[in-house]
Amino acid sequence: MSSLSFLGPRHMARTLGRRKFWEVVLLVGFLLVFYGPLLYTLVLAFAGQYTYPDILPKTWSLQWWKYVLKQPALIKSMVYSFEFAICSVLLSLAVCLPAAYVLARYKFTGRRLIMFTFLIGNAFPKIGMYTSMGIIYYKVGLMGTFLGVLLVHMLGSMMQMIWLPAGAFRSVPVQQEEAARDAGAGPLRTFFYVTLPMAWPGIAVACMFAFIGSLGESVGTLMVGLPTYRTMMVEMYGVILDYPATAGAVFSILLIMPNLLLILVMRKYIGADTISKGYKMG
């Protein structure tokens, strides 16, 4: 063990200096707080025999993965989650992009007010909004329907899907569109060949947030979608209560994975610049 004595706090303090030493301790502390639970989940998900007080499991195994992937209810919930995520992003694009374009390009009275209203949706506690939505849903027969859940998911990402694309459209110089018109393209062609490709990074980031947001939506889905539409997030409540912790760990990794993947794929688009441009009232 003497060869590893450089890992001892005293030795470290000596080599790093007192100040540096505390900085390292702080960093390790932070890392543990942020990544510790994630790491634990990861370990738990692949654990075979794992008993207190072991830090690492005695054996590793994929048994809980097999178990979770054999539960038809859980598989079904994954399908639902992705269905809702994809549909809500597509539908939001169709609704919000034209709105964002108008907000970005045309100066009209009440423009700022409209931008602001999308913000207000995020200012209320969501549960209150869902309750009142539920009342309306009962009246119009949207309770427990696919469309009903979809609307809840869209509502959650409405602000991002308007603000971020609006910022992206704003950053496309009007002259670029004029040059396209000049070359003979009508307004629609100009939009699809010039404006949309140039604004795409901002729009893509908005889509990513909307997708992740939809995957993570639970309260609204629970209130509106039950008993039919049990997404992964809704099932998660049940999994926590009914299944062993290891199954929960597997399930939560399944939940995290698509988000992680998306962020990795989109990382070149995600920048302070894209996001801050979107959150300007301009």
Binding site: P173, Q175, Q176, E178, A179, A180, R181, D182, A183, G184, A185, G186, R189, Y193, V194, P197, M198
Partner: protein, 323 residues
Amino acid sequence: MDETIKLEIRNMTKLYKNGDGVRDVNLKVRKGELMTLLGPSGCGKTTILRTIGGFLQCNAGEILIDGKNIVAMPPEKRPTAMVFQSYNLWPHMTVYDNLAFGLKLRKIPKPEIAERIADALKLVKMEGMEKKYPNQMSGGQQQRVAIARSLLLKPEVLLLDEPFSALDAKIRMQMREELRKIQTDLDITVVFVTHDQEEAMALSDVTVVMNKGSVEQIGSPYEIYHHPASRYVADFIGEMNFIEAKLGVHTAIRPENITVRKGPGGDLDGTVRNIMMLGHYTEMIVDTELGLIKAFLSGGEAEEFVRGEAVSLYFSETKEFSE
């Protein structure tokens, strides 16, 4: 030069909400002619250009190209092409795609598109740049491509909105010469907006001097320089001394039309305030009872004078403007 009128603007008015804009503009551009619209910023020159291009709707009047009124047409239907100040190539497309965009919309077959693009790039001296993206090129190169893009549309009238003002002086001069050459070679009709009088002088067949939304004078660069129609034009174009010898009457004298001699007895006498050597000529400022007068002397002449010396000024060409 062909005498047919290519572009005509009749009694055109375009006013913005704040009251700025242009009033009652009448212009005629002959086929193959290069007309510059010259004036300080805010004089309405760009407004005129944008109404021709279709990016602004005029409140009244007509714009005719080959005798056909185009006022009601959207930009994509007009036989005009515009080159913008900030180049405005589409950054997500290669040079080739930028150039092919308008041709594809016109349903021109692919081999012909490639051929035309190669020709156009040769014309603007940008051969072999097809695969480059706009951000991989300098400002001057981008503007060359932008000019090629507009020429490929074979417009009846080519519109240029201060196309060289974002470039540095040397490239600006070079582009100016090349544009003039292309324009005469292809015999295209051009309307060129600039705030740079030197550029206007160097390029134009006809210059339109504008002031606060209306036309002050239309004429060849020579006419405008030597026979300014108003005090404003006299003041705006080139260097000009104004002296008020009689009340309300301003006499205008170009610095190069002043001869300086030693001692008194000239059209106006004074003392040398300053002598500045400016390369092939020298600028002398003379303090007179009617104010400071600027005179241009050749390098040799200026040698004889020193600061503070009493001199007489002789005017060879003057013009009077009454208020």
